[in-house]
Subunit: 395 residues, 2 copies
């Protein structure tokens, strides 16, 4: 099964909707930097159609890691929760320069002129998220000036203003890209935070359920920064977690938190999950760092699996950096296969796992340019569907 899907992915992307391509297509650059703050992903997308009838074709994907100083500043700001206004302004410029460089490099690699890009749909860097308060930081005018493109940005605020959590927003794109007439599907993205989108077989957008399951890589990354400060910032191939033992009491304390019992809509943020972990290990006494890594991975895997178990599903389609973690993957594969659920990577269905979130924001930005809503009220808890984001004109 995997093989045939891989074959499809090598041929063409999102074939099922290519037939809609009679309408003129537009090139949109989706640009995303997640809560793991590893860098900026840019997906160059050719989009045909409008709203839920959009189809998309990936023209290029590029990831630019943040410079270490920017990454450190994002983490220190997020963990302290406080910032000088001068540093806030400077950080906004540094983030925007990174976005601009990532977009320009992606365009150069793909041989696409900036003048042919209708807009950059830029997520910005989440500095704070505690619904209904949320800050995605970016200077869209600077990004526009350095690329020559219009920018759509600040997607979450309109949903918050409509009473929603401002997250997750990717389900709109999940529905467009992955809905299936006869299969129930779950899209699982494991970034700093992990989230799932449930797509009912043959269902409408109103049937979509999605929420943050809890931590993705954020606790493991936090442990890497703490116990391996000169390393890559994450536990490569789960090397440390593999050497550790589960701290059962910490594990149980963590998962007993009320967040994991809240019905959707629910969304969380990395500082909250890291704080909860630090709280959960407080009474452990001396423990081996490797055990902490192992426990973090188990918490991530089991909180994801518990969330998936709430739904009837045929396939779980995984994306994000956590999909590359062998321990998470093995745990999920074991738990899901025992229930006859297939665990796939989004690449297997022709959507690059690394690019998926950037692709999603390209679709969200296109909806905004078309004056169409793109939040999913059943998912965010918003009172109504609204147009997301602000448009900064081409300079």
């Amino acid at each position: 099964m995997r093989l045939s899907l891989n074959y499809i992915s090598n041929c063409i992307i999102f074939t099922s909707r290519e037939k809609n391509m009679k309408k003129s297509n537009r090139i949109i650059a989706g640009a995303m930097s997640g809560t793991s703050a590893d860098g900026v992903d840019v997906a160059l997308i050719s989009i045909t159609g409008h709203g839920l009838a959009m189809s998309a074709r990936l023209l290029g994907h590029h990831q630019l890691p943040y410079e270490p100083s920017i990454r450190e500043q994002i983490f220190s700001t997020r963990s302290s929760g406080i910032i000088g206004l001068d540093n806030l302004a400077k950080l906004g410029k540094a983030i925007s320069h990174s976005y601009a460089r990532a977009v320009n490099e992606a365009l150069a690699q793909a041989g696409i002129e900036a003048g042919d890009v209708e807009a950059i749909a830029a997520h910005g860097q989440t500095l704070f998220h505690d619904p209904p308060h949320t800050i995605q930081w970016l200077d869209p005018a600077l990004l526009a000036a350095e690329t020559g493109c219009a920018v759509v940005s600040d997607f979450r605020r309109a949903d918050c203003a409509a009473g929603g959590q401002g997250a997750p927003l990717v389900p709109f794109a999940d529905y467009i890209l992955f809905r299936h007439p006869t299969k129930n599907r779950i899209l699982l993205n494991i970034g700093g935070i992990a989230n799932i989108t449930w797509l009912k077989a043959g269902g409408s957008i109103e049937d979509v359920i999605a929420f943050d399951t809890g931590p993705g890589n954020c606790i493991s990354d936090h442990l890497s920064r703490k116990h391996d400060p000169t390393g890559p910032g994450y536990d490569l191939d789960a090397q440390r977690a593999k050497k550790g033992q589960l701290l059962e009491q910490c594990f149980e304390r963590f998962l007993q938190h009320s967040y994991f019992w809240q019905p959707p809509p629910r969304s969380t943020d990395t500082p909250a999950m890291i704080a909860l972990f630090d709280e959960s290990i407080r009474s452990e006494g001396h423990v081996s760092p490797d055990d902490l890594f192992a426990t973090a991975i188990s918490i991530t895997s089991i909180s994801i699996a518990n969330s998936i178990a709430m739904f009837q599903t045929d396939e779980v389609i995984c994306s994000g950096g956590g999909a590359k973690n062998p321990l998470i993957w093995q745990t999920l594969e074991f738990l899901l296969n025992s229930r006859q659920i297939s665990l796939l990577k989004s690449d297997d269905l022709g959507v690059s796992s690394d690019a998926k979130e950037a692709i999603a924001f390209a679709l969200l930005g296109t909806a905004t340019l078309d004056g169409l809503p793109s939040n999913v009220p059943s998912v965010t808890g918003a009172r109504r569907a609204v147009i997301l984001g602000s448009i900064t004109p081409k300079p």
Copy 2:
């Protein structure tokens, strides 16, 4: 002369450009809160034409003072230069609620439906300004949601991205509203900071010179908050300044600062001016607060007059809260009349002094909606004219 101008202002506003009104007119709400953080001014404007050929008619003006808690938070944030991200997000919401309430009250007073407003052009609250870094804080999606109107906001960033100071931006509107074929004119606005715009008789937009002269009311307001914490937050009718004596050494130290010798373009911000004042009085020993008030007013008046003296001008047209300060007015009137320069209030020319900055942002926002640039590169130092701001769609 005043009488006849007052008569004109009672009849109709901006009559000289009414002849362009054949084109369909649009209603724009300009919304402004300045560095003095006294509240939100809303000017409802009917605009005809495009770009520099725009004409404007004031349909209504409303000022909503900030609630004291918001005002205090803005000042404490600006003076400390540091903020928690949760408070930053909450302050953004509080500012946006104030903007929304001010717009909704202005619309109700004028009997205009939100559906008839093409957009709100909202300045946002300056939290930080040290070019090329600037933060005008506002949640445009929340403002849009609470008014039902599209919002144009964040005007300064695009100019900064083009190498400019992001300020002043009002000269674009000054040129549209006040240019004269045979008179050299200076527009003087005295808010927290004071700034002037010089309009050459019969000149083009490229001839415009404008810059921040230095402090407006910000030092006097700072002294009021310090020495009269339960008062209105400013020195009403210059009562305290009138009782004080000029501290000559402080006065001279202040005006010797290099800022006052910089050629334009130049812009400054209230924390910098307040810090300079505090520095200038440091070696004074014990002084009467009234003397500080008197010295602050002299600094404001003389730094304005020195800036005006750089230009050949027939009229100085004053607006902003400082125009109501009798000591500033008398000082300027004395200094200008001795040079045969008329000192007028913008009200005398039919443009409400209190509403002028809000009117200016309505014009700037309209240019953005039309896809036209509205910075004045000769004024801001930008490399080129650019479209300013981001557009948040009507919800």
